[in-house]
Symmetry: C2
Subunit: 187 residues, 2 copies
């Protein structure tokens, strides 16, 4: 196990991928983000990092709301498109069947198996990017993605993003149950 130093500018690990939704200049816009995760348990706060000049930021700042949409493998083209084309130049409002929940300014994507409505909790300056912190107010899915009343990752089939080869992947196999297998190391 001879360690070698590699490019310290990378981030060679699998990342969840989401489409952030907001109303910008009067119409729904969606932007793809892979620098995303949960940030707090109570309340349930999720964070997404975006470049400081992103079009999506305008809508989130104005409305103080946004949506988080989790695309599955069937939406890989649309997911990539929303990452490489800015709402400044193209109209993405017709790309999806858009629906709304309780908040009126968080456009959600009906084709996505899981979607969330968030209110803006805070905007944190992290050097080249802003970390958008959102409090999850409502989560939506469908019966067909569940097994025994619980969301089933195999049925959701969500996309995962990787580096250094920039690719979208699906989940593979379960290795072990968490909060369980580690007990075998108790002495």
């Amino acid at each position: 196990m001879t360690k070698i130093e590699i490019d310290s500018d990378g981030s060679p690990f699998p990342k969840p991928i989401v489409l952030l939704g907001s109303i910008v200049d009067g119409r729904p816009n969606f932007f793809t983000v892979a620098w995303f995760n949960r940030m707090s348990r109570t309340p349930n706060i999720w964070g997404a990092c975006v470049g400081k000049k992103r079009y999506t930021l305008k809508g989130i700042r104005e409305n103080k709301t946004f949506s988080v949409n989790f695309p599955n493998a069937g939406l890989v083209k649309e997911t990539d498109y929303c990452g490489i084309r800015s709402g400044m130049n193209v109209d993405k409002s017709q790309l999806f069947d858009v629906f709304y929940g309780e908040l009126n300014t968080a456009p959600m994507i009906r084709e996505c198996p899981v979607t969330a409505e968030c209110t803006l909790y805070n905007l944190v300056d992290v050097s080249s990017h802003y970390l958008i912190l959102g409090e999850v107010k409502h989560l939506y899915s469908e019966e067909k993605y569940m097994t025994d009343g619980e969301l089933d990752q195999k049925k959701l089939n969500l996309l995962i993003f990787t580096k250094p080869a920039t690719q979208y992947w699906t989940l593979g196999d379960v290795v072990a149950d968490a909060y369980s297998i580690g007990k075998e190391l108790d002495r």
Copy 2:
């Protein structure tokens, strides 16, 4: 596609999983975190969210350094153990073959295919959790995880954590190349 509201307290998406390493009370300690991702491009900043009473925080605050270690499927037991057992109660310093790089207080795990040395960039209060922001100073891996000089996710075989079923998974198959397939939707 009839949408139903589900438990808004969840976070039903795949997450990268890492072992944060720090020197606490004079010995290496490792703590498992799934709320983790990149946060800035320039400099390369990564963020990890941890509960405010975590033992690991003590070492990170004292030394202003920490490591990020990416476990593969073969380390699933150790990964789970480091999440369910606190360094307050057990000594985790003998669990791995520990090595050091340029920073002297960021203990890294030799068994992990990718490891990073970070300096503390900022500590952000996010309600129930702290977001530890670290600037990546050095990244390490091994030749055997590379193909044509680049890290290969299939060879790395890193663990991914899911909810609501709390499980560790591997990556599955490549669906498409990013920054590419979306161009098919250009009009």
